[in-house]
């Protein structure tokens, strides 16, 4: 699962690091580092972290109710328009 944290919004409350420690960790007092590609078995925990983030800074594939990631678009698949 892919995820991204809007670190402008993030306030370093470390809720996410508490709920999904394999994905999020604090580096120093306030900086958050995270693995942008979380393992599938982290899905539950990641979902909880997304929900618990007080400023909703975490966006993850398929967890915010707007459908999963599309299939691989790599290469090209166009016939012009």
């Amino acid at each position: 699962m892919r995820l991204v944290v809007d670190l402008n919004k993030c306030q370093g409350y470390a809720q996410c690091a508490f709920l999904a420690p394999d994905v999020f960790a604090m580096h120093g007092e306030e900086s958050l580092v995270y693995n942008p590609r979380a393992e599938e078995e982290q899905r539950e925990r990641l979902a909880r972290a997304v929900a618990a983030c007080p400023v909703q800074a975490i966006t993850a594939d398929g967890l915010d109710g707007v459908g999963a990631a599309p299939s691989q678009p790599a290469g090209e698949s166009s016939d012009g328009s």
């Binding site: 120093g28 580092v33 590609r37 966006t59 993850a60 594939d61 707007v66 678009p73 290469g75």
Partner: protein, 463 residues
């Protein structure tokens, strides 16, 4: 009639986005969110689907993330045609067509340009080609640099102590790799945050064991007989042996492909109005070409209508969303892009954030904490009002100062705040380097004509 056109555009129009990265992807998602049902094409010169860049100089180099796995999550399906690995090479504004490097042409009714910037390479090409010399902008760059760092280099040499250069140095020290940093200015981050804050950054480098050299320039990179970099020569005559060199000298805007198109595009980016519509070279706003992200320059009401170019992650998203909305909306529904600039960095375990436009600031006050503790908020003043703020490990205050900036609150800062120390009671000069001298990676470039200046003289042509 115009309403008819928009209706048709939304139903069956063709929208082309050049630049398939952060701004491009978020614009595509917004278009679909707002009901655009026509055809959507994303053109990107990198062979990868949109990925996130900030981790490339942070989590990736710290060994916490794989450089090949920073693809951006999708907020929704976008049902787009993807043309990846092929650059756009020309724009025909009259025929409304984008030409691609493979000879194809793609027609559009509305075009969004989000081609961003690229790393400025080491200017002497044979030296830049040496094995072991890197820049850091793309996923491929990160894969290469990460591999070398894992292999245990004897010394990494970073040219330029802007945000990216400092983050790279920090990641090296975190892994026990010896690192030298050279910066032309008097301190790291001086171009972005001024010399007072730069001095704090310099302390951070030194305390973490970085061999920091300021006030010097790199004059040459020296290779060995098999073409690997082995040493770096400096303007003070010193020579530093290093087997990895990272050139971190800021960025160049990706606008060359627009040369001759008639669009107002150049080395400083593409100028647009507050609604993200691009100007043509005559200064007339186009109706069907929009720009967003690092490649755009747009006027901002909060900052004296200066044209701001921001190399900021949050700006790319906000501007892309506004551009996408405006592309398919009638003029009465269009929105201005008035995002308050915000930026973060993380280095030596310290969380650095800024809001507003620090380089516009003339004076600085430390309103919370203290420089010595490296936990503080610094507020920048410009002509009697608050123009920006920076925090070191003090994020939670920034939103407060963002409001102050938005409302033009007065400077010097009068209110008593928690944790305000004697050093924060009087403003000091923020100590920015001479703006006419280029600095490495200022992340905000002020490039507009300020109405306060009287440098331009307009001479009407005689008939």
């Amino acid at each position: 009639m115009a309403a008819d056109y928009l209706d048709r555009l939304r139903r069956e129009g063709r929208i082309v986005i050049v630049g398939a990265s952060l701004a491009g992807l978020r614009a595509a998602e917004t278009l679909r969110d707002e009901g655009f049902a026509g055809s959507l094409t994303l053109i990107g010169d990198e062979p990868y689907e949109p990925y996130d860049r900030p981790p490339l100089s942070k989590a990736v180099l710290l060994g916490k993330a794989d450089p090949r796995h920073t693809e951006l999550p999708r907020r929704r399906e976008i049902d787009a045609k993807w043309r990846l690995g092929v650059p756009a090479t020309a724009l025909d504004m009259t025929a409304k067509r984008v030409r691609l490097a493979d000879g194809d042409e793609v027609e559009y009714d509305r075009l969004l340009i989000a081609t961003g910037v690229r790393a400025r390479p080491w200017p002497k090409e044979p030296e830049a080609q040496l094995d072991g010399v890197f820049v850091l902008r793309t996923r491929d760059d990160a894969v290469g640099l990460h591999r070398r760092m894992k292999a245990g280099p004897r010394r990494v040499f970073v040219i330029g102590a802007g945000f990216t250069g400092s983050e790279i140095a920090s990641a090296c020290r975190d892994q026990g790799i010896p690192v030298t940093v050279a910066e032309r200015a008097g301190a790291p981050l001086a171009g972005a945050l001024g010399g007072v804050i730069g001095a704090v950054a310099a302390d951070m480098h030194r305390e973490n064991g970085v061999d920091l050299r300021t006030g010097v320039m790199v004059t040459a990179l020296e290779g060995d007989t098999v073409g690997r970099v082995r040493a770096v020569h400096l303007s003070d005559g010193s020579v530093v042996e290093a087997d990895v060199v990272v050139v971190s000298l800021g960025a160049t805007r990706n606008t060359e492909w627009l040369t001759g198109s008639g669009l107002g595009a150049g080395p400083r980016g593409i100028a647009c109005d507050a609604g993200c519509r691009a100007f043509d070279f005559r200064g007339i706003v186009t109706d069907d070409i929009f720009v967003a992200g690092d490649v755009a320059r747009s006027p901002h009401a909060l900052f004296g209508y200066q044209f701001l170019s921001l190399e900021h992650w949050g700006n790319a998203i906000a501007q892309a969303e506004t551009a996408a909305h405006n592309m398919i909306s009638p003029s009465s529904d269009r929105r201005p892009h008035l995002w308050v600039p915000a930026f973060w960095s993380s280095q030596f375990g310290v969380n650095i954030k800024s809001v507003g436009v620090p380089p516009m600031g003339e004076e600085l006050m430390i309103t919370q904490g203290s420089l010595a503790e490296r936990r503080f908020v610094g507020v920048y003043g410009y002509q009697g009002r608050i123009i920006a703020a920076v925090s070191f490990d003090n994020t939670r205050w920034l939103e407060f100062y963002e409001r102050m900036i938005e409302t033009g609150a007065p400077f010097p800062v009068e209110f008593p705040t928690v944790d305000r120390r004697p050093e924060g009671r009087t403003p000091v000069s923020a100590d920015f380097p001479d703006p006419s001298l280029p600095t490495h990676g200022p992340t905000v470039t002020l490039s507009g004509y300020s109405p306060a200046d009287r440098q331009l003289v307009f001479t009407p042509a005689r008939h």
